[in-house]
Each structure stands twice: as structure tokens, then as C-alpha cells.
Amino acid sequence: MNAFLDTFFKPNLIAQYLPSILKGVLTTIEIAFAVVITGLALGLLLAVVRSFQIKPLNALIVVFVDMFRALPPLVIVLIVYFGLPNVGVSIPSFAVLWLVLSLVLASFAEEIFWAGILSVPKGQWEAARSTGFTFLGTLGNIVLPQAVRLTVPPITNRTVAITKNTALGTVIGVPEILNQATTAQSFSGNATPLMMGALAYIILFIPVVAFGRYLETRFAWRRS
């Protein structure tokens, strides 16, 4: 039992590495917020653009979205971080992680919002247009409010999944929780920092997961 505590919860190591883990927590939160805001905004924007039904533009959106949904995020992160410098574009690791995760989230969000927009009955469009609403007025005031409401649970799930991918930043050296934890672990030769890192993720994400659980029951389909 003592050996276990010494390996995973050594008090002096906890004290020593708490500041760096907390710094990691801050970095993780920063990236997560940046990703959620830009990702969801871009996703909504793409879905709105798609609703204009401009053929070439829609084709581009579909290609972009399908590509980012098919590639594992780790792969995209590595291509952007290690690949682009070879053609003269180097982006700092923090920005790479933010950019890539935003684009991935945007792709998934676009699909979900688009499904939401499609699920609003055509009659709503026709009724609104015939009362004199413009296309954008209908979209903004009638269709989107109904569509977005419907997409809350899947969007939440997807957003949580993408924010957890901030841990991928560790492979390109973004100083987030996992990176701080593995660095501390290799310095101390002890698993305590890793345990602290895992706990930090639990504390950060358990409320979000629980919130998702609540949303799922709240917005659950009424089954006969």
C-alpha cells in the first residue's frame, strides 16, 4: 500500500509539480475555449453558406468537411506542424493545435447544423417567405432558432470530444496538462505527475460529461 502511494501519490512530488500542472490546466482551458468559439462559429457559418445552395461552393464545403472528418486529428496536427515548414509556412505549436482542432470541430459542427437546418419543415420556409421575410431573415429568425435547438445534444457531445483532443498538443510540445505531466514524470522518475495530470482532466471534464448526460435525458426523444 505504501509502495502504491509512493508510486502514484508521493506528497512531496505533488507539491513540487502542482504549479506546472496548474499551468498546463490553464493552457488546456485557453485552447479549449478558443477552439470551441472559433470551431462552432465557423461550423455555423459554413452551414449557413451551404443553405444558399450555390453548387460549386457547396461542393467545396462538402470536400473540406469530409476530409477533416475522415482524417484523425493527430494526423492533421502532425502534417500542419511538421509538414508546412518545409514549404515555408511555420506556425507556432499553440496556434497549430488551435487551428487544427477548430477546423475539425467546424467540420463536424457544419454537418450537425446542416442536418438541423434540413430537419426544419419546408412549410416553415414557405410561410415565412410569403409573409415578406427575406431569405436571410427567414434563416436567422425562423429556421436557425429551431434548428439549433435540435442540435444541442450532438453538438455538445462532439464539442466535448474535440476539447479532449487538446491532449494531442503534447506531441508537438504545447505545454498543456499532458505535456507538463509527462515532462514532470521523466524528470522525477515517478508516476505521480501522470496521476495528477489524469486527475486534472477528470476535474475539468467530469462536469462537462455530466452536463452532456443531463442534456441527453432532457432533450431525449419521446419514444412510444
Binding site: 475522415a70 484523425p72 514549404v87 470530444a161 479532449k164 509527462t182 477528470i202 475539468l204 462537462v208 419514444r223
Partner: protein, 215 residues
Amino acid sequence: MDALIHQFFNLDIMGRALPLVLTGLRMTLLLCLIVIPLGLAGGLLFALASLSGSRTVRWGMIVVIDFFRAVPPLVLLIFVYSGLPFAGIRLSPIVAVAVAFFLNTSSYYGEIYRAGLDSIGRGQWDAARSTGLSALSTLAHVVLPQAIRNVLPDLVSNTVEVVKLTSIASVVGAARNALFRRHGALGHLQRLANRACGSNLSRHAMAGGPTDQPA
């Protein structure tokens, strides 16, 4: 533009890297063959446990499932692979991947199965039991087939996610804390492609993987 093609879609390099990428592809497929059935079976166990009659078991399962859904898979994998050896449990990369993925994907599959089982009316159970079917055969022949059909789309899309997730196995392919070093037991798609050739990126366009060492 030429530089871009030269760096990312260089046919010569692609030709040289192809065998390695194919080996990596085989590894990815092997990982999927281990990880997906494990996850599907584990998920079913998780789901059945979380619908158990005992309140303690039910609450326990919620804690377990939410725990593994809250921890990023990469964190779990690194913990299993490089944290457990400190406690004297040393796992080979492939076993570490299997264990970490089992815990993570079972939780997600478990939630999906649970939604499916929830969607089957109580009457189905009662009717099947009253015809003389045992609890187990009711589950296997009456409830599960309907439940799985109801959540099939979610099961499929989660499986797609799992396949994509196997890319993180490349992280434990190398020595501890030396991500993507050139040696290591687990030859995954990217890492193998990585090893293939110096500093050209065409292999990424093919495999999508890391280039030179971050170390």
C-alpha cells in the same frame, strides 16, 4: 506550387515509402481487429451492468463510464503504457493499446447500447419472459436484436471514431517520453512512414503521419 508538390506529393518518395505505409496499414487493421471486438463486447457488459437491479452497481457503472469518457484517450494510453510500469506492471505496446482502448471504447459503446436497451419497451421483456424464455434468452433473442437495430447508426459512427483513434497508438510505439523516436516495437502507419525517408513529406500525403523528430 512546385515546392508543394515536391514536398507533399513526390512520386519517387511515395514509391519508396509505399511498402512501409502498407505494413503500417496492416498494423492499423490488426489494431482495429483487436480493439473493435473488445470494445463491442466490453460495451455490452458495461451496458448490462449499468442496467443492473442493484443500485450500487448502477451508480458504480455511471462513475466508471463517466470517468473513462472524461479522460482523453491519449492520457489513458500514456498512463497505461508509461505510468503502470512504476507499479511493476509492464505491458507491451500492443497490450497497452488494447487495455487503454478497451476501457475507453467500452464506455462509449456501453452508453450507446444502454440507449438502445432503454428504447425497448418493458412489455417486450414481460411478454418474452411469460412465454417461458429465460432472462438470458430474452436478452439475446428478443431485446438485444431490437436494441442494436435502433442504435446501429451510432454504433457505426462510433466505430469509425475508434478506427481513427488507433492513430494515437503511434505515440507508444517508441520509448517512453521520446515520442516518435525511430525505434520501438509498435510499427504504426505514421511511424513506419516516418522511418522510411529523410525529410520529404510525400509519405504524409499518403499515410498522414509525423515527419521528423520532435524529440
